[in-house]
């Protein structure tokens, strides 16, 4: 079956799920978060997995999306779609900016710069009363639910569509000349440059797309929570998840982040509710270190090895 057909079927499947009244509301509530991580992991991997540049500042891009949505909503009562597009554009611009500043330098400087952006943006937001400052602000969801029973169900479906879109973009990047160039940059930037790859331009493109998608993942959050505040939005733990999921799933193919996100985000829902948030961070951290040391190609790599050995 063609990929596009798969996508259509998946979207229809999620649509069907969203309109089934018998399903508990909590499923959609948790499902939203899981889908959000699918987008974040996929977005991170476009720069981290394909090009080898590690973004530690994931919350900065999420927050860019979220707070852009808040500003658009508060100022012009923008509908959800406009919020999402606006968030994506501004987060993409942030990616471009950070990239222009640091992608000419070695990888670790890019990584540290991404942490810097988190703190600087958080400080700015903390002092910006229009969006609620450090205490945050409440938001009232608009009454428009399309044809869904609840706002959460609608958001769940929107997230599903966004997830399919993000994965499709990652797949397109991977299979295009862009993906070939990014892999060359990751393997040897010098040799790539001498093989005609415009390394800086390619890195900037990947960084912009990656940032934009993370912003898109963040934009629906204010409506989802009916609330926005800096401390949780800028939480650096997002980074360990967005980076752990692709590494554990497998960074060389777009399906890796999806696998990693589905597994770990579902685990997160279970552990956070039954035990504690901290324990979940610990589990992801330990898994990340284990995989990086023992199975650097992630679950995908393990599956490949198992298939080869059983031939």
């Amino acid at each position: 079956m063609k990929y596009a057909t798969y996508c259509l079927l998946i979207v229809l499947g999620f649509l069907g799920l969203s309109v089934m009244s018998s399903i508990n509301e909590y499923v959609f509530f948790a499902g939203f978060v899981i889908l959000q991580f699918v987008i974040l992991a996929t977005a991170w991997n476009i720069l981290g997995g394909y090009a080898g540049y590690v973004n530690f500042g994931v919350p900065a891009f999420i927050a860019m999306g979220a707070y852009t949505a808040v500003v658009l909503f508060k100022s012009i009562s923008a509908p959800l779609v406009v919020q999402i597009i606006g968030g994506g554009i501004l987060a993409g611009a942030l990616g471009l900016g950070v990239g222009l500043l640091t992608l000419k330098l070695r990888g670790i400087f890019f990584s540290i710069a991404t942490v810097a952006v988190v703190f600087i943006l958080e400080t700015v937001v903390n002092n910006w009363r229009y969006v609620g400052g450090a205490t945050g602000m409440q938001l009232t969801r608009p009454p428009d639910l399309w044809f869904f029973e609840s706002y959460t169900r609608m958001l769940f479906f929107v997230m599903a569509v966004l997830a399919v879109l993000s994965v499709s973009i990652a797949r397109y990047v991977q299979d295009s000349f862009l993906g070939r160039g990014l892999r060359a940059v990751r393997d040897s930037e010098e040799a790539a440059e001498c093989s005609g790859v415009p390394t800086l331009k390619i890195k900037l493109i990947a960084c912009t797309i990656s940032g934009a998608l993370m912003g898109v993942a963040g934009s629906p959050m204010p409506m989802y929570l009916s609330y926005i505040e800096p401390a949780s939005t800028f939480n650096l733990s997002y980074s360990i998840y967005a980076l752990g999921m692709p590494i554990i799933g497998g960074t060389s193919h777009w399906i890796g982040p999806v696998i990693g996100a589905l597994l770990l985000a579902t685990l997160q829902q279970i552990v956070t509710v039954t035990v504690s948030n901290e324990l979940n961070v610990l589990i992801v951290g330990v898994l990340l270190v284990l995989f990086v040391v023992i199975a650097p190609e992630g679950i995908l790599g393990l599956v490949k090895k198992w298939k080869q050995s059983s031939k």
Partner: protein
């Protein structure tokens, strides 16, 4: 706008603060500046040092002495860390960039979360005779704990600078980042030298961690803001420059202090990170770097 007095006091406090920042960044200056290890877990180890000091200080020992007593323990931890990093990543040198960074980032989170699970999120402090009172000179008050930290910082910097310029091992450490081949020809084993350097860098963190908890209360998530401060100092100084670390620390300390006075404490976290971004954009080799 602001009285000269206020600015002067902010600058003085900034000098004390700056020396403290320089001291807590020395370990990173060695591990990352000289050895090129992407040691983003450095601030987490700093906080770990603070908590170890906290636990040891409960037995009644003075916190500074605790820090010194912990140094051999941390030295061993550092050697272990480097050995592991070398065997797993540096030796194989395939895609070390992503994996090394992910490894240390993961370790930082693991350390932070373990601290939360063990100690909770509340702030911890230590008590000592010099904590709580201040030295008064004229109209200015200098908290004794800041003076103590200042003193330790100066001593550390002087000792390290002498070590790196006068001893064989110290000079070897400085050289190993630049030319491993030449070092091998001189009969020194680059891996052992790097191991030694990493051990020293981590041992410094024990004492620096003690200083941290003397200067103020400590809580597990503090490693995040210290990523900014320590990397700012190291980048500002320029990779490979020990003495530059002191100057860079002073610049950061004074900048933060003045900003705090002028705009309030809520803007303080942005100073180190902002300065860091500025340096990366304008002069990535730092003030004194190679």
């Amino acid at each position: 706008m602001f009285s000269v007095d206020l600015i002067f006091e902010a600058v003085l406090f900034g000098i004390l603060l700056g020396c403290f920042y320089a001291a807590v960044s020395l370990g990173l200056s060695v591990a990352f500046g000289l050895l090129d290890v992407p040691y983003v877990a450095h601030p987490a180890l700093l906080i770990l040092g603070s908590y170890f000091t906290f636990m040891l200080a409960k037995t009644g020992i003075d916190p500074i002495v605790c820090g010194v007593l912990l140094m051999p323990v941390f030295y061993l931890i550092g050697i272990g860390f480097y050995r592991f990093y070398y065997e797993t990543f540096e030796k194989r040198s395939t895609e070390t960039g992503v994996r090394g960074l992910a490894f240390f980032f993961g370790m930082a989170f693991i350390i932070e979360v373990c601290l939360i699970l063990f100690f909770g999120v509340d702030q911890r402090t230590v008590a000592a005779s010099y904590i709580g009172s201040s030295l008064e000179i004229g109209e200015y008050r200098f908290p004794y704990r800041m003076l103590v930290a200042f003193g330790i910082a100066v001593v550390l910097t002087v000792v390290l600078t002498i070590y790196f310029s006068k001893t064989f091992n110290g000079r070897a450490i400085k050289a190993v980042g630049q030319d491993e081949g030449a070092l091998r020809l001189m009969g020194a084993n680059p891996v052992k030298i790097k191991q030694l350097a990493f051990g020293i860098a981590t041992a410094i963190n024990a004492l620096a961690g003690a200083m941290l908890i003397i200067v103020g209360p400590v809580e597990p998530s503090m490693d995040r803001i210290y990523i900014g401060r320590t990397f700012c100092v190291v980048v500002l100084a320029g990779l490979g420059s020990m003495s530059g670390t002191l100057v860079a620390g002073l610049v950061l300390g004074i900048a933060e202090s003045v900003v705090m006075m002028a705009f309030g404490a809520s803007w303080a976290p942005a100073v180190s990170f902002g300065l860091l971004l500025l340096m990366l954009g304008v002069r990535p080799q730092g003030l004194f770097g190679r």
